[in-house]
Each structure stands twice: as C-alpha cells, then as structure tokens.
C-alpha cells in the first residue's frame, strides 16, 4: 500500500484536469479527487457526456433568450416619459407572424426536451444495468462514519473495515447500502452519483471505476451535527494490488513486537477503547465505533477529517470533541506515556 506513488499519480491527474476542463478546480493534497467532471469510470463518463450536451444546448438557449430580451428593450426603447397610446391587437399580418414565431419556439422547446429525454433514458438505462459482479461490499452508515464489510461466499473470510473503501479497477463492484440510524447518502463524485442509505431499506449500486487512484466520497444527505465531517476515501487498486490487499487485510492483527506497543495493547484492552472498538484477533469486540483492525494503514482518521499522523491520532484520542464536536467518541484523559504506547500499538494495526 505504497502511499508515495499515489500522490505523484494524483498530482499528474490533477494537472491533466486543470489543462482539460475550465470548470474543474484542482484538488490539492492527497485527500483524493472529488469531482464530478473528472470521471474515473464508465457510468460517470456517460453522465458527463449527457451533462456537457445539455449544458451546451442550455447555454445557447439562455444566451438567445437574454439577447432577445435585451434587444427588445434597447432597440425599441422609448426615452420619453410620455405614455403612448397602447397598441391594439388586430388580426393582421404582423399578428399572424407573431403567432407563427411563438408556435415555432414552443415547438422547438418540445423537440429539444424530447431529445434530452431520449438521451437521458439511454444513459439511465445503461446506468441501471445489473452487471455480473465478482465482489460484494456492504456499506453501513452511522452518525458520522462508515462501516465496510467485504463479503465472501465463505463467511469466515468476511472482512470488516471502516472509513475507507478499497475496490479493484476495471470490474463492477456491488455495494449494498443500509443505515444504522438516520438517512445518509453515498456519493463518489468521480465514479458514480449518489444512493441514499435509508434505515429499513437496503439498496445497492455498482461501483465501476477504471482509473486506479484515490477518490473522495462524502455523505450527501444531511445527517445531523457532523454531516460535514463524514467522508470516505475510496481507493481504486489495480486488480492484482486489490487481491493482495484483501488477502493481507483478512489476516488478523499481528501481535505487537516491541514493548511499547505491547503496553499500548494492554491499555487498549483494559481502558475504554475496546468497549466501542473492535480489533480482529484481539479480545476487543465493540461495535459502537469503527473497527480498528487496519487503523494503522488508513490515510485519514475521524471519517476523512484528518490525515492519519501520530499527532492527529493523539489529539483525536484525547479530545475528539474539539475536532468533531458532537461525535460519539468521548474524551480520554491518558497519561503522556500511556498515550504514546497506545499510539504505538494503533500504528502496528496495518
């Protein structure tokens, strides 16, 4: 899971985007791209074609209407304050011409709308197709984080992760969506439009990305206090990378090798951490907070809020409420040494 090359790759993509699209605003840093206009898969590419087609036609219509209004107001403008006798409508040649013009314009509107409709139905039909898939992922929304289950026909191979989504490029992945509390919405702008996670309903969509890279998903349905800080990095691997990643991720957490991390593990299990958080292979089964089996290798913490650095992790453990006010995680008053040990342990959880 080399992080360096991805940054370079991202920068390259960003520069290409700036060159190619006037509307595309470059996204700095390694947080991942989050832009509808930079498609990373066939579904969003077809939506982009539809968008640009509609935008161009709409722009022409807008310019025509505004120019017509301006022209009417300026070319036939009266400068005097004196009021003229109002024009009386008589069914003469001119009136018939006006009727013809309006009828023609309405007819043109109908035709343009019909063309839009047919184009939209074609795109919609393609988007609604259910491709055969090799992988199913369950995504469960929580206030304000994401729980991710990598499903396998063999139930013992179920892999539970959180706040980061890994998928292979070049093949459609089914994502089943549900929610534990309120309505959330899953949206990866570069890859696919949104789908709501509604309590009491399960729905699904297909993530079909063909450009490996890091993309940024974000909850799009207002879900309470920290709706703004409920993001989800989506990492698109090449197929080979993904297989390797998944195999490694399925293995339980390794036993810490150095003493400081071993001390941290004790703190994790004895303290309040394990009552909310789970770590596979360790006696920590909490399900209130995100699963931490792979916290050490995540790019971000607190659902895409902060880069996963030592300092941020420590700050988050001690005082999450100042970073994400209202988050379910309580403050943890730990001695400096304990905190260092705990962070050492968390960093071993790759």
């Amino acid at each position: 899971m080399a992080r360096g090359p991805r940054c370079v790759e991202h920068a390259r993509r960003a520069s290409r985007r700036v060159a190619s699209g006037i509307l595309a605003v470059a996204v700095a840093g390694c947080a991942g791209s989050q832009n509808v206009l930079d498609p990373a898969g066939p579904p969003n590419r077809s939506v982009n074609h539809l968008f640009w087609a509609m935008l161009i036609v709409s722009s022409i219509i807008w310019v025509a209407v505004v120019v017509a209004a301006l022209w009417a107001l300026i070319s036939r403008r009266r400068r005097t304050r004196e009021d003229l006798e109002p024009v009386v409508i008589v069914p003469n040649e001119r009136h018939r011409r006006e009727v013809g013009i309006v009828t023609g314009l309405v007819g043109a509107t109908v035709v343009i709308l019909l063309l839009f409709l047919v184009y939209d139905f074609t795109v919609g039909r393609a988007l609604a197709e259910r491709p055969s898939r090799t992988l199913t992922i369950e995504l469960i929304g929580h206030q304000w984080w994401w729980e991710v289950h990598y499903i396998d026909p063999d139930p013992s191979k179920l892999m539970v992760d959180a706040n980061e989504l890994h998928i292979p490029a070049g093949e459609p992945v089914q994502v089943k969506l549900s929610s534990q509390d309120v309505i959330h919405s899953f949206w990866v702008p570069n890859i696919i439009g949104k789908r709501d996670l509604i309590p009491g309903y399960t729905s699904s969509l297909f993530l079909d990305a063909d450009k490996p890279g890091v993309y940024h998903a974000q909850c799009a349905e207002f879900c309470g206090l920290e709706h703004a800080k409920m993001a989800l990095p989506v990492i698109v691997h090449s197929r080979a990378d993904f297989t390797a990643w998944l195999a490694e991720a399925r293995s339980p957490a390794a036993e810490p090798s150095d003493s400081s991390a071993a001390e941290g593990k004790k703190i994790f299990l004895a303290g309040t951490c394990s009552s909310c958080h789970a770590v596979t292979g360790v006696e920590a089964y909490g399900t209130i907070g995100p699963n931490l089996t792979h916290i050490g290798s995540r790019r971000t913490i607190a659902a895409g809020t902060l880069p996963n650095t030592r300092g941020n992790l420590g700050g988050w453990i001690v005082d999450p409420q100042s970073i994400k006010p209202g988050a379910r995680m309580p403050s943890n008053q730990l001695a400096g040494k304990d905190l260092r040990n705990l962070i050492d342990y968390l960093e071993t959880l790759k």
């Binding site: 605003v25 709409s58 017509a68 795109v123 919609g124 949206w187 789908r195 309903y201 703004a228």
Partner: protein
C-alpha cells in the same frame, strides 16, 4: 383616517351609463351626490381608530399591508441568516459558527424563506390587489383574512423566540425522518418546526379560500372569466394549489411527525413497522408544488408590468392562462424528482423525469409571449422593467438547470450539492423575488400614494441582478466539484475555498442592494412624488381608484368591457350603482360571466380573529410540551367559534330590524 372628501379625485365624478347591464337603469349623479356618497361610504367602511381599531380592523388592504411588511421583515431575517452562513463558509475550516449553531441557522433560513417569507408575501400581494383588480369593495371573508394574518404572525414570533432561546429547529427545512424523529432529535427544536408549519398552513389556506371566492364571486360586472387580469389568474391557480398541497404537509408534520414525537406513534420508525420514505413522499407532494406556489404569482406580476411599460396588450392572453393552469396541474406530478437517490424503481423515476421536463413547456410559452410583447411594443426602461430583464437573466438560467436536473443520471450526481442550492436560488430569486421587487416598484404608488425613487431603484435593481448571479453562479461549479449542501465547514484541501469566498462576496452585494431598497421605500413613503390614481397610465381596475385606495375601494362598482378596462373604455369607467352606502354591502356576481347576482351584507371589524389566533397558538405551542394542551386548546377554540358566530348572528339580527323598512322601500 383621512377625510373622505379629500380622497375623492375630481375625475371620478362623471359616470357614464352601465352599458354592459341591459336591464339596469342609466343614472347620472352630480358631484355633490358623489361626495356625499364618498363620505357615507367612508363612515360605513372605515374601521375604528385607536389601539382597539388597530387590533380589530378587517380592511383587506390594512391586513395585507401588515402581511407584506411582516413577510418582508422575514426576508431580511432569512437574509441575515444566509449572511451568517456565508460568513462561516467564506473560508475553509472557519469557526464563526459551530455545527450546532450552523444547523439551526440554515434550518431557520430555509424555513423562514419558504414558510414565512415567500408564500405569505405572495398571497399577501394577492390579498391586497385581487379585490382591487376585480373591482370589489372588499375581500370575500375579511375576518378569516385577519385570522390568517394573526395566525401567521404567531408563527413568526414563535420561530424567532425559539431561535433566541437556542431552540430553533436544526434538521433542515425538509425535516427528513428519522433525523427529525424523537430518537435523533430529542428536545423541542424539531417540535418548533413541526408546529410552525401548522401556523403557516392555516394562514395560507385562509388566504387561498379568500382569493378563490373573491375571484369567483366578487368580480365587477362584465369581468367574465376571459377578462380576468393575468395577475388574478396566477393568484387563483396558486390558491387552488395551496388547497391541494398544504393538507399534505399538514398530515406529515402536524399529524404524523408531531405525534411520533409527542405521543410515541411510529409512522416513520422502521423498527416498529413505520416507513422513513413515507415522509419524503408526503413532504415533497407538498414541497414541489410549493415552489410553483411561490413563483407563479411572480410570473403573474410580470404581465401587467410588461404591458404597461411596453404600451401593448399582452400577446397570448389565453396561452398564458392555460400555461398557468397546466403548471398548476403538472406541479403535483413531479415530487419524486427530489427522491431520485432513494430506492425507487427506475421505470417509476423515468415518469417523473418526463413530467419534470414537460413542465418547462408552459413556462416557456409564457416567456415567449412576453418576449413577443416586448418586441412589438415600445418599452420604457423603468426600474420595474430592469428587474423584468433581471428575471429573464436569472430565472431562465434556473429553469434550464431545472431541466438538466430532471435527468436521473445527472441528478444523482448533483442532488444534495451546491449545484441544487444554486438551481433553487436561481429559480426562487429569479422567478419570484426579482419580479416581486418589480411589483413593489410598480404598485408602491397604489399602496402609499407616492412613487419610489427611480435612480435609487435602478441602482438597486442592477446590484440585485449582479449580486444574485455572483452569489449563486459559482455554486453550480462548487456542486460539480463535490461540495455537498448543508455542511458547516470544509477542509482546505477540497479546493472549494476561493469560489466560496467569491460567493460570500456576492452575498454582500445582495445585502447592499436590499438595504438600498429599504432606504428607497422608507424615503419614498415619507416624501416621494405624489402618484395620483394612475401614475403609469396602466389599465387595471386598481388604477381606477385613488392612491391609496379608500377603505371602500371604489366609489361605485366599475363595469368592465374588456381585458384592459382603462385602456378599453378610458377613464372614468362606466359603473353600476345601487349598493347601499349606509351599511357594508358588496356586489356578488356570477362565476362565469360576472353578471350581477345579489348584494351581500359584509362583516364589520371584530376582535375574534385575533383571539382565535391566540387560542390556536396556545394549542399548537402548548402541544409541544404536553398533549393535554390540545384538549384545552380545542375547548377554547370551540368557545371562540361560539363568540365569533354569535357576533355575526347578533349583527345580522340588529341589522334586519333596523333596516327592514328600507329594504322594502328599495325593492
């Protein structure tokens, strides 16, 4: 109150024969009789003075003026909230507002603008002008009208007191369950929202009933359906839409959400067999027509302004009427386009895509008709016309993004992002608020008797057009760049900072523009140029009476011979006489042809509307804290109804005894 004699314009003294009424006897009245009539009418129709008179008045113009001013204050309040949101979002990771405060502010902004500004001010414009435009002495149900206003006012006070008690709703103006349910929104914040909606529903329904009955039964003789002014047509269609749309949100918020929260029903709780999607269906069945309820009156303002300043009768009257009606019908068939991201079958969604695109056709028809009218007229670029130009610039943009949003594939990408925020503000500010400002400039002289300053007005108009576009256009790009709506902050690496700063700068321009408007209105009200009855040489019946209109609206009921009365027959208009001047009487005409049907005794001032509104406010606000308040409130409401009815009955009895002889004499 002014001396009635002074209000009488000299040119109203001559009366021609009422040609439209074959069996009416031609009358000629001399000036003395008319001044005498005016004085007696003023005595009869004027509501009392002093505080008591102020609280009991039922004059539709007085009530509507209060309505308009209150709603405009709500526009300012909602605007200040928007300003706070823009300050918070001006740069990444700003700390001006925390999430808790931000969520209250954005919810209050949406709720204020939709429920306390947009709908009330549009219906209030109707309550003021519909009776004047159809040539009626008053509105159909003046006490109901006063009750509607007071109910609305209670809602305004309720929401804003809650805001200052840190109890303002914070689940969005759409209050999606389960977030707004008892489990995820404990406390009383969402209760405030649910009951506030009740206040505004009742007020809107009262206004709608009034507008419909006034339009159908109180038009001047000769104003058959095909001569009703287009402003009134728009108000009529909207009134019907209110009657069909508002009960939906009443059921959703008052019955279901409030009872889920107060008495533990489970309409929306999936754990107990309820359905979270049900809320969205019912809410948007109201919420989508709501948009058209707001901007159809805006379109209604445009026609008379364009006609007056272009000196040409509108092209395609029938087409515009049919467009209004069609829009009213289609508006109820689009609600699912707010729910494309929910698990609704694709085939069902495509129906709503088609309907959402189709609704562009009637709106397009109206725009083409106005363009042709402008082309074949001789336009004068008054402030109102500049704002009409602003309507074309802004609204057409919003309409076109609306067509784009009808596409399921594209909508799923930009749904719930700043793209949609841009779209809805383009439609509402462009389609409703810009024409509303034009309407203010146009009808201000009718309400106050004075003209607004045109120079300041043009500055305001251009600043508003520029401000709106600068504020909302970049939001399209932000949405495409992935910025979801309703977020209280964003990280700097998203790259959204510069455009958000631009948006916030645009908001400052809007603030300057609205401030200029307030200054202009205040100064002009005190010392603007005197307007006279018809400063723009316009054609509608409202211009056939002095400015401001007297308490009895028209000295004699005018007779209408065409769609443009003052242009068709010139001033003064033919009139019918025979309505009594010693008691409040209105002329009731037939629904289709507006033939005089009968005279109807009209209610006088009453304190009951205010008391009833207070009692119902107690019921709704109390129900937040205890269900028992409903029982108490229902009892008190019944008592009020008794009082209200008793007053009406008592007055009728007294009147009958006192006037029996004269009725016989008149017959």
């Amino acid at each position: 109150m002014t001396n009635p004699a002074r209000r009488l314009p000299p040119n109203e003294s001559a009366v021609t024969e009422p040609a439209a009424l074959p069996d009416a006897t031609p009358v000629t009245l001399n000036e003395d009789v008319l001044i005498d009539d005016a004085r007696r009418l003023e005595m009869t129709w004027r509501d009392g003075g002093g505080l008591w008179g102020w609280l009991t008045t039922v004059d539709h113009k007085v009530i509507a003026r209060r309505y308009i001013i209150t709603a405009f204050l709500m526009f300012i309040a909602g605007g200040l909230e928007a300003g706070m949101m823009r300050m918070q979002l001006a740069r990444p990771e700003n700390t001006f507002l925390g999430p808790d405060r931000y969520n209250q502010i954005f919810t209050t902004h949406g709720t204020t603008m939709m429920f306390l500004f947009a709908v009330p001010i549009m219906t209030a414009m109707g309550l003021y002008f519909v009776p004047l435009m159809v040539g009626a002495r008053s509105i159909a149900f003046p006490r109901l009208n006063a009750f509607g206003y007071y109910t609305y006012l209670m809602g305004v006070i309720f929401l804003y007191v809650s805001l200052f008690l840190n109890m303002a709703p914070d689940a969005g103006w759409t209050a999606y369950v389960p977030l707004s349910g008892p489990e995820y929104s404990p406390g009383h914040r969402v209760d405030v929202w649910a009951q506030l909606v009740t206040f505004t529903e009742i007020a809107a329904l009262a206004a709608a009933v009034n507008i419909i009955v006034t339009t159908f039964k109180m038009r001047a003789p000769g104003m058959s359906l095909n001569r009703i002014p287009l402003f009134v047509w728009a108000q009529l269609v909207v009134a019907f839409m209110i009657i069909f749309a508002m009960p939906a949100v009443a059921i959703a918020s008052t019955l279901q959400l409030a009872s889920d929260r107060a008495i533990a029903t489970h309409w929306f709780n999936p754990a107990e067999g309820g359905d979270a999607l049900l809320w969205q269906h019912i809410f948007w069945f109201f919420g989508h027509p709501e948009v058209y309820i707001i901007f159809l009156p805006g379109l209604g303002f445009i026609t008379p302004i364009v006609e007056t300043f272009c000196r040409r009768r509108v092209f395609g009257y029938t087409a515009i009427v049919l467009s209004n009606i069609t829009t009213g019908f289609f508006a109820f068939g689009l609600w699912v386009h707010h729910m494309f991201a929910t698990p609704i079958p694709e085939l069902g969604q495509s129906l709503f895509t088609a309907a959402s695109m189709m609704i562009a056709i009637p709106t397009g028809v109206q725009i083409f008709c106005w363009l042709v009218t402008m082309f074949s007229g001789r336009p004068r670029l008054t402030t109102a016309m500049v704002l009409i130009l602003g309507f074309f610039i802004t609204f057409v943009n919003g309409g076109l993004t609306g067509v784009m949003l009808a596409s399921v594939g594209f909508d799923k990408q930009v749904h719930d992002t700043f793209f949609v925020v841009a779209h809805l503000h383009y439609v509402l500010l462009g389609g409703a608020v810009t024409p509303l400002f034009a309407a203010f400039y146009f009808w201000f002289p009718k309400v106050t008797g004075r003209l607004m300053n045109e120079t300041l007005g043009k500055w305001q108009a251009w600043l508003f057009i520029i401000g709106v576009n600068l504020t909302f256009f970049p939001m399209h790009i932000l949405g495409l760049n992935g910025m979801p709506r309703r977020i209280y902050t964003y990280l700097s690496q998203t790259g959204w900072g510069p455009l958000n700063a631009l948006v916030s700068a645009g908001a400052v321009i809007i603030v300057v523009s609205v401030t200029l408007f307030i200054v202009n209105a205040a100064m002009s009200w005190r010392s603007g140029l005197l307007a006279g009855a018809n400063p723009w040489d316009s054609y509608g019946l409202e211009w056939a009476t002095p400015s401001p209109a007297p308490s009895y609206n028209f000295l004699n009921t005018p007779v209408v011979l065409g769609r443009h009365p003052l242009w068709d027959t010139g001033s003064p208009l033919p009139v019918v006489t025979g309505l009594r001047t010693d008691r409040r009487e209105v002329l009731v005409t037939t629904t289709f042809d507006a033939q005089p049907d009968h005279r109807h005794k009209h209610p006088t001032a009453s304190i009951w509307p205010l008391i009833m509104a207070l009692v119902m406010a107690e019921l709704w606000i109390g129900s937040i804290f205890t269900p028992w308040a409903v029982l108490g409130g229902v009892g008190l409401t019944l008592l009020c109804m008794l009082g209200w009815g008793w007053q009406s009955t008592a007055e009728t009895d007294v009147e009958r005894v006192a006037t029996e002889g004269r009725i016989v004499e008149a017959a």
